[in-house]
C-alpha cells in the first residue's frame, strides 16, 4: 500500500497494515528468552531484565524456564565441551520460530579460553546464531542492542518467496546434530552445515 495513502487513512482513523507486517510485529514484540545462563554474562543478562535496564520495554522480559515456551536462546557465557551437547539439545527442544543470541566473547569464539582443552570455540559451531555480541561481559545495553537487532531482522522477514525464513520452509532443518563425547574431543568438532572455518588467504611472502 502506498505510504501516503496509509498516512491519509490513519488521519481518518483507519489503520492499515499488511498481514506480513502484523505477523512480524507480533513476533518481534514478544520474543521470550530461554531462562538459562552459563557464566558471568548471565549476570549481565539478569541485570538487563531487571528494572534499571528493563528488557520488558521490548517484550522480552518473560524468561521461560522451559524450552517448549521459549523463542530466543541467549547463550550467555562460556560453553564448555561438556555443556555443549546439552545446549544443542535445549535448542532442539525449542519450537520454531527460534533465534539464538551468542552473548559475550566466550559464546562467540571461546574468548580467553579459546585454545583450552575444555572450551568450545563458539556456539556457532553447532547452532545457527542470529546475533553475536562481543564483550567480556557485554553491558546490558549491548544485550538490548542485540535484541533490537534481532527485532529488525524479524521485521524484515518475508512470509513467502525464496528468502522466507527457516521456520516457513518445510525442508529446512529445525533440529541440529547433538555432538557426542569422544575420547579426546567432541565428535564432530563442528557441524559443517552450520559453520565452516573461514578460508585463510595467505600472501606469497
Amino acid at each position: 500500500m502506498d505510504e501516503g495513502l496509509r498516512s491519509e487513512l490513519s488521519k481518518q482513523g483507519i489503520f492499515t497494515i499488511t498481514l506480513e507486517g502484523l505477523y512480524n510485529w507480533g513476533r518481534r514484540s514478544s520474543v521470550w528468552p530461554l531462562n538459562f545462563g552459563l557464566a558471568c554474562c548471565a549476570i549481565e543478562m539478569i541485570s538487563a531484565s531487571m528494572a534499571r535496564f528493563d528488557l520488558a520495554r521490548f517484550g522480552a522480559e518473560v524468561f521461560r524456564p522451559t524450552p517448549r515456551q521459549a523463542d530466543l536462546m541467549i547463550v550467555a557465557g562460556t560453553v564448555t565441551k561438556k555443556m555443549a551437547p546439552q545446549v544443542v539439545r535445549l535448542y532442539n527442544q525449542m519450537p520454531e520460530p527460534k533465534y539464538v543470541i551468542a552473548m559475550g566473547a566466550c559464546a562467540i569464539s571461546g574468548g580467553p579460553f579459546k585454545q583450552g582443552y575444555n572450551v568450545l570455540k563458539g556456539i556457532d559451531r553447532y547452532l545457527p546464531v542470529d546475533v553475536h555480541i562481543p564483550g567480556c561481559p557485554p553491558r546490558p545495553e549491548a544485550l538490548i542492542h542485540a535484541l533490537m537487532t534481532l527485532q529488525h531482522k524479524i521485521d524484515g522477514q518475508r512470509l513467502a518467496g525464496p528468502d522466507r525464513p527457516r521456520h516457513l520452509r518445510a525442508e529446512a532443518p529445525s533440529e541440529f546434530v547433538i555432538p557426542r563425547f569422544g575420547a579426546h574431543d567432541l565428535e564432530p568438532p563442528q557441524h559443517p552445515d552450520v559453520w565452516q572455518p573461514p578460508a585463510v588467504i595467505r600472501g606469497e611472502s
Binding site: K81, K82, Q115, Y117, N118, K121, F181, G182, A183, H184, D185, P189, Q190, P197, P198, V200
Partner: protein, 211 residues
C-alpha cells in the same frame, strides 16, 4: 605455630617408621613442605588432625603437580689432587630424575586459626604406578579435589569413596594438566597466529588433509 621441623620431629616420635622429608622452598614465600611416604600417609594425616597443638581440621586446597623425567644439576664436593695437593672442589654433576606425580595438601586449623602445613605425596611413576592413598577419610572436603586431580593428572587415589572424573566427561581418555598432554588437532582459524598458536597452525597445515 611450631615450625615444620618441630612438627616433623613430633610425627617421627609418634609414628616410628614414617618416612618424612622436609622440602625447602627457596622462593620469597618460604613455605617448606613435608613429603610423606605413601604407606604412612593416612596415619600422618590423622595425627596432624587429631594432635592437640595442631588440630589441622581443614584441607583448604588439594592440588596436583606433574614432574616429568628431568635432568637435575647438583653441586657435589669432590676431593681432587691438584698440583700434588689434595683439595676439595665443587663439581656440577647431572642426575637423571625419573618422572612422578605429586599431590599437595594445604592444611589449616579452623579451631586454632593457624596454618598452613603443606603435605606432599608422590607416586612411584607417571604411568602404571600412579597410585596414592586417599585422604578423604581424614578430610571429607578432599573428596572432590582428589577427583579433580584424578581427572586432570591421572593420579588414582586408592580407598577413595567415589573416584570418577569430575570436570571432563567419562569417556575422555587424556589427563589435560599433564605436561605431555597432546591436545587434539582442533586448530581452525586465527588471523594472526603467534607463539604457541603459530606452532599449532604449522602442525595443522603440515598434514595433507588440512591443506
Amino acid at each position: 605455630m611450631e615450625t615444620l621441623e618441630q612438627i616433623k620431629a613430633r610425627i617421627e616420635a609418634a609414628l616410628p617408621g614414617a618416612g618424612l622429608r622436609l622440602i625447602p622452598n627457596d622462593s620469597p614465600a618460604n613455605q617448606p613442605s613435608l613429603l610423606v611416604d605413601n604407606a604412612h600417609a593416612v596415619a600422618v594425616a590423622s595425627f596432624l588432625r587429631e594432635d592437640a597443638q595442631l588440630q589441622l581440621d581443614y584441607a583448604s586446597n588439594v592440588t596436583g603437580i606433574d614432574w616429568p623425567e628431568s635432568v637435575r644439576k647438583e653441586k657435589v664436593k669432590v676431593k681432587k689432587v691438584i698440583d700434588g695437593v689434595e683439595k676439595e672442589v665443587e663439581e656440577l654433576i647431572e642426575k637423571k630424575r625419573p618422572g612422578f606425580l605429586e599431590a599437595v595438601y594445604h592444611l589449616y586449623s579452623m579451631t586454632l586459626k593457624q596454618g598452613p602445613v603443606i603435605l606432599r605425596l608422590r607416586t612411584e611413576n607417571r604411568s602404571d604406578k600412579a597410585h596414592l592413598p586417599s585422604l578423604t577419610a581424614v578430610w571429607r572436603g578432599a573428596e572432590l579435589q582428589e577427583r579433580e586431580i584424578y581427572d586432570l593428572f591421572g593420579i588414582v587415589f586408592d580407598q577413595h569413596p567415589d573416584l570418577r572424573r569430575i570436570l571432563m566427561w567419562d569417556g575422555f581418555q587424556d589427563h589435560p594438566m599433564r605436561k605431555d598432554y597432546v591436545e587434539p588437532d582442533d586448530y581452525e582459524y586465527e588471523p594472526t597466529p603467534h607463539d604457541k598458536v603459530l606452532e599449532k597452525a604449522k602442525r595443522h597445515y603440515a598434514s595433507e588433509a588440512n591443506r
